[in-house]
């Protein structure tokens, strides 16, 4: 898979000037921290708006988006550079297929990411979904299994379709916090992150509205119902995550294959074998020998050996006579 040609980030010019300023500002900050490349991995269930988010961030239509079906069957990487700063965004196909996690898709993503470094993971879901279920957890688990638990230190949860009117009796803020809380809980469960770890570095939640009908503020920036301009907010959160001290995830062959269970413990096989021989086989052999020695011999055999004379008896005495002999 050849790396796509590096292109100038022209899409940024489509943003309102306010947004442009903010973005360049943030990129400048990153450059100050010696970060000149940033790779963003976007993952999530199908149809939650991953590709749209990618398009929104870049300000151009890089990923085909269709309302009713998933177009992206394989990951797409878009690289844009601006003022010496390279931004890579990897859009992936939906991870769910037929009610189960699609390991195949996961496998493709992993292979695609081979020898790349992931700086940020965007886990995308919808804000306007009311429930979380086991499937969410499995998707999280699949991601964790694929890239390791560490990826969540570089992860943020993106909730799309943020421009909504919450159900009756709930304020927008309340709804958002409830939804993100529920989702974070699932992430925690699926990634098996302990509560304490989570508190150390909470996974940030960012709201996103990709629709063209998104409200704008005075300076033309797309804003959420709570008044935040979401694109700069998103990029800002991303830069915060990058600078939180955690390491980027390097995807190499080892990570893709996972720990090879076939290799584990191979070193100990000679020891195990020795143990089995001396403590299992020998022991059973000894037990067999004891069995042979202890085997009740019929009376006629004992009599023949001249042993039984003293104890001999009529048939119903048999049991007791053996006991005597054993002593």
């Amino acid at each position: 898979m050849a790396a796509p040609p590096l292109r100038e980030w022209t899409g940024i010019q489509q943003f309102p000037p306010a947004t442009q300023t903010k973005l360049l500002d943030l990129l400048g900050k990153l450059k100050q921290e010696n970060v000149s490349t940033m790779t963003i991995l976007v993952m999530g269930k199908g149809g939650v708006g991953k590709s749209s988010t990618v398009n929104s961030i870049l300000g151009e239509r890089v990923a085909a988006v269709s309302a009713f079906q998933s177009e992206a069957l394989r990951p797409i990487m878009c690289s844009r550079s601006r003022a010496g700063f390279t931004l890579n965004i990897i859009d992936t196909p939906g991870l769910v297929e037929g009610g189960y996690v699609n390991e195949y898709a996961m496998e493709i993503v992993k292979r695609f990411l081979l020898n790349r470094t992931i700086d940020v993971l965007l886990y995308v879901d919808r804000l306007d979904a009311y429930r979380v279920d086991n499937l969410d957890r499995q998707v999280i688990k699949a991601i964790t299994d694929g890239f390791g638990k560490g990826i969540w230190r570089r992860g943020l949860v993106v909730l799309t379709h943020a421009q909504l009117s919450p159900p009756d009796g709930l304020s927008y803020e309340e709804f958002c916090s409830k939804r993100s809380e529920a989702l974070l809980k699932v992430v925690r469960l699926g990634a098996k992150i302990k509560k304490k770890e989570l508190q150390d570095s909470g996974i940030p939640v960012v709201l996103v509205e990709n629709s063209g009908r998104c409200h704008t503020n005075d300076s033309g920036e797309k804003v959420l119902p709570n008044g935040t301009a979401w694109i700069p907010n998103l990029v800002m959160t991303i830069t915060e995550v990058i600078s939180n001290g955690s390491k980027p995830i390097v995807v190499d062959q080892k990570l893709i294959d996972g720990p090879n269970p076939n290799e584990r413990g191979k070193f100990f096989i000679p020891l195990i074998l020795a143990f089995q021989y001396f403590f299992v086989v020998k022991r059973i052999q000894r037990a067999i020998k004891e069995d042979i020695a202890r085997e009740p011999k019929p009376l006629w055999e004992l009599r023949d050996m001249g042993l039984a004379n003293r104890y001999l008896s009529s048939p119903h005495w048999r049991g007791s006579s053996f006991r005597l002999l054993q002593r």
Binding site: E97, G98, G99, Y100, E103, Y104, E107, N260, P261, N262, R264, G265, K266, F268, I269, I272, L273, Q276, V280, V281, I284, Q285, A287, I288, K289, D291, I292, E295, P298, L299, W300, E301, R303, D304, A308, N309, R310, Y311, L312, S313, S314, P315, W317
Partner: protein, 835 residues
């Protein structure tokens, strides 16, 4: 008609054999311990009594020289002692009364098959003194020859067939002396009474004496027959005095009254039992009738000394203390030693022998009568020779192909020369030889040693099986076709070609091979073969170590349970595991069941899909209807073909036994596959399994045929694990009738480490048993350690429990098992046992 005690007993043995498990399992190869075919006439030299008793009813004793032409093997033609001169004050009497040895002679002889040895239970001795033999010492000290009685009496009874009889022609109810009867008439005896003169009572039929008389009510006898009967009764030594008279009946028949006085001796309070089996017979010194009293005294004394010496030299019998005590009790209760008592003692002693399987043991004599000690002389049946013979198809003795040490090593030591013959040892020899599977017919015969009195020659007769066999069988499979009509599955015949070359070099080595194909015309499609060479006695046929070398080429084709869907997963495309390889191992048998096998396996494993083409990974049906081919890899190499060599060891400790048909005991099996790093991807692994099974008897029961088996608790544990390379086809699978019942094969998962626990309670009901069980299987979280995680890929849980109950119906188990994961139950029918 088996007239010799021996033979009748052995008859019983051979009759009982069909019920022994061997012959049952091998109906085509009847095994029997048969009886000695040659019946020898054995006549016992009788002893003369120099002082015949006053009793007129005894025949005059005959001289010892009047013995037989045949050498009597079991004879007691010696002079058992006279006890006499123990104390001075009894001396005079003793000489007179106890005159000679009080010896009870059990005669083994028989006439020409006329006697019926079955009269005494246990067939102690078909005794027949023949007309010539019996001398009866009378009075108090007579020697005693009562068994000879049978023979004679039976001989008479023989000719009683004539349907017609004559009326006595006399007035009714007169007592007629025997000699007053007409010699020309045939009398019908309608009633026989025994009258004990001493007790002055009539003896019932249950009395032991009654069986000594051959006369039967309703039969017809002539005067001479009755006389003979009386004669033989008098000769038998049981009676001091015996008489026979007739009583006329109104219907023309006669009633016979036998009046007698039983012989008795001085009371005794000690009992001794000696084995006189192989002792040289002491030649009685001729007694000169002209001897003076002093000489006679001398003579008796020397005889007594001889007898003493003889007793001292004799080996003690096997008779155990409790039986001795029982006999002593009998002696003590009785007071005087009577003929009846001796008879009872003999019966008791012989019964013990025969109950314990000493089929050739017989009480031959009671010596030392009229002293404080009764000496029971027994021929126990010492083996003097062991002969192994081969027979051809016609039963003629021939030279066998089998080398003798092969047979010898199967024989229990107890059949060797110098041991006492026991029927159980014979049966064991039979079983052991039978397990060689080399012979179509096996006989173990004990027979009298003609050259060595009292000895037994054990003859083992073997008919060898054909060495080479070859066989072709074909079959067409019939399957339900259209509208349920039976149709041929294919036009091509399937079948098996097999050959076997057994007993190579007479050392039980064999080569066997077979080829099976479901399409003989085009066999490459589906061909399974096996070629095996078996080489027993690796350490030499005379070495007791029992190691067998086996080498085989094989192939097999099995459906892999690793690629099976979990509950609710649609059909998973099947993966077939084909193995072709070579295996060589050495098996050492410690006991019949416990063994240790170790060897090398080299094999090529090919994984194929349903279309028989090689496949490299498992697949799963997608909801879209397509197949996702990204499943777990089927092989280690990833090419669908693996080659590997590994060591395999298996040690089994099994001390289970059957108690009334149910299995009790414990069984431990440890199996180990150790990869050598030879093969595709250099597989290096250690795959081990330990299986522990306990069959715990919950109640003590009496062990006997036909008795109900005890309730049994079965506990079972199985641990398996693998370190190192683990291809999917070697992964442990959970679920199935031999893993966790209630699930399908592999329905619970495929894993690297496995733990299965099971408990089953079996309660006998009538002829079968019902059982309840609970089982659990767990992957110990090791499913993810199998490459490709087939457990998860096919959406299986990785662990599961089940419980249920069932009943055993012959070979089939019908059980209801509840799958604990789903909570639903189902009825299953399974063949064979779970444990």
């Amino acid at each position: 008609m088996a007239s010799c005690g021996h033979s009748s007993l052995l008859n019983a043995v051979s009759a009982s054999l069909p019920s022994c498990p061997i012959s049952a399992s091998l109906p085509s190869c009847p095994t029997s311990i048969s009886l000695p075919s040659s019946r020898r006439r054995r006549v016992v030299a009788s002893l003369s009594t120099p002082f015949s008793s006053s009793s007129s009813s005894f025949e005059t004793p005959q001289t010892p020289s009047k013995t037989t032409t045949h050498t009597p093997p079991n004879t007691t033609s010696k002079t058992p002692l006279k006890t006499a001169s123990k104390t001075l004050h009894t001396l005079s009497k003793t000489i007179f009364t106890s005159s000679v040895a009080a010896a009870l002679v059990l005669q083994l002889s028989q006439g020409d098959g006329t006697g019926d040895g079955g009269l005494f239970p246990g067939g102690s001795g078909g005794n027949g003194g023949g007309g010539g033999g019996g001398g009866g010492g009378g009075g108090d000290g007579g020697f005693f020859n009562f068994f000879s009685r049978f023979f004679c009496s039976r001989a008479i009874a023989k000719d009683e067939e004539s349907p017609e009889w004559d009326s006595h022609g006399l007035p009714a109810n007169i007592v007629v002396q025997l000699n007053k009867l007409s010699p020309f008439k045939r009398y019908k005896v309608s009633e026989i009474l025994f009258f004990d003169l001493r007790r002055r009572t009539t003896v019932g039929t249950e009395d032991s004496f009654f069986e000594m008389v051959s006369l039967r009510p309703g039969a017809i006898y002539t005067k001479s027959q009755l006389q003979k009967e009386l004669e033989s009764l008098a000769n038998c030594g049981m009676f001091e005095k015996v008489d026979l008279e007739g009583k006329t009946k109104p219907d023309g028949t006669i009633g016979v009254t036998i009046s007698f006085t039983e012989s008795t001796w001085q009371s005794a309070d000690a009992f001794r039992c000696i084995n006189v089996g192989l002792m040289p017979q002491s030649k009685p010194i001729e007694m000169d009738p002209d001897m003076t009293d002093r000489e006679k005294m001398e003579y008796f004394r020397s005889q007594e000394k001889d007898y003493r010496r003889r007793i001292d030299r004799a080996r003690d019998c096997l008779i155990p203390t409790p039986v001795r005590r029982e006999v002593l009790q009998m002696l003590r209760e009785q007071g005087k030693v009577s003929a009846r008592l001796l008879q009872r003692i003999r019966d008791r002693v012989q019964k013990w022998y025969h109950d314990e399987g000493y089929a050739c043991a017989q009480v031959v004599n009671f010596g030392n009568l009229n002293t404080r000690e009764v000496v029971c002389e027994v021929v126990e049946g010492d083996i003097t020779q062991l002969v192994v013979q081969f027979q051809d198809k016609l039963g003629n003795v021939c030279e066998g192909n089998t080398q003798l040490p092969v047979v010898w090593r199967e024989l229990p030591r107890q059949l060797q020369k110098g041991h006492v013959f026991n029927i159980e040892a014979g049966k064991q020899a039979l079983r052991n030889i039978n397990s060689l599977a080399l012979f179509s017919n096996i006989e173990v015969n004990p027979r009298q040693d003609e050259k060595n009195e009292g000895g037994i020659i054990v003859e083992i007769k073997l008919k060898e099986l054909e060495q080479k066999t070859a066989e072709v069988s074909t079959e067409w499979s019939i399957v339900p076709g259209r509208q349920g009509r039976p149709t041929l599955a294919s036009i091509h015949p399937g079948g098996t070609v097999s050959f076997e070359h057994r007993n190579i070099k007479g050392l039980n080595r064999s080569i066997l091979g077979n080829v099976t194909s479901s399409n003989l015309l085009n066999p490459q499609d589906d061909l399974s073969f096996k070629l095996e060479y078996v080489h027993p006695y690796l350490d030499g046929v005379t070495n007791l170590r029992n190691r067998t070398f086996r080498a085989s080429c094989f192939n097999s084709r099995k459906l892999s349970p690793v690629f099976t869907g979990g509950p609710g997963v649609d059909e998973v495309p099947a993966i077939w595991i084909d193995r072709v390889g070579f295996k060589a191992n050495i098996t050492e048998c410690f006991t019949r069941q416990s063994k240790f096998a170790y060897g090398l396996v080299m094999e090529e494993i090919t994984t194929r899909d349903e279309t028989s083409s090689i496949c490299t990974s498992g697949s799963r049906a997608l909801p879209s209807g397509g197949l996702s081919m990204d499943g777990p890899p089927t092989t280690l190499s990833g090419t669908g073909v693996d080659r590997m060599a590994f060591l395999q060891a298996n040690i089994t400790r099994d001390n289970t036994k059957f108690v009334n048909g149910t299995i009790i005991g414990e069984r431990n099996v440890f199996q180990l596959d150790q990869g050598l790093g030879i093969g595709s991807n250099f597989p290096f692994f250690n795959r081990h399994q330990l299986t522990l099974t306990r069959f715990i008897q919950l109640k003590n029961v009496e062990e006997a045929a036909g008795k109900p088996p005890p309730p049994v608790l079965v506990l079972h544990g199985h641990y398996g694990g693998c370190v190192g390379d683990l291809p999917s086809y070697d992964a442990f699978t959970l679920g199935g009738p031999y893993s966790v019942r209630g699930y399908n094969m592999g329905e619970l998962g495929a894993c690297r480490n496995i733990l299965e626990l099971a408990a089953e309670l079996r309660i006998p009901v009538r002829n079968t048993h019902i059982y309840a069980f609970a089982e659990h299987g767990n992957d110990l979280g090791s499913s993810k350690d199998v490459k490709g995680n087939p457990t998860e890929f096919f959406r299986r849980v990785g662990h599961g429990s089940s419980y249920g109950a069932g009943v055993k119906l012959g070979l089939v188990r019908a059980e209801y098992a509840v799958d604990h994961n789903a909570g639903t139950g189902a009825v299953f029918f399974r063949f064979g046992e779970r444990f």
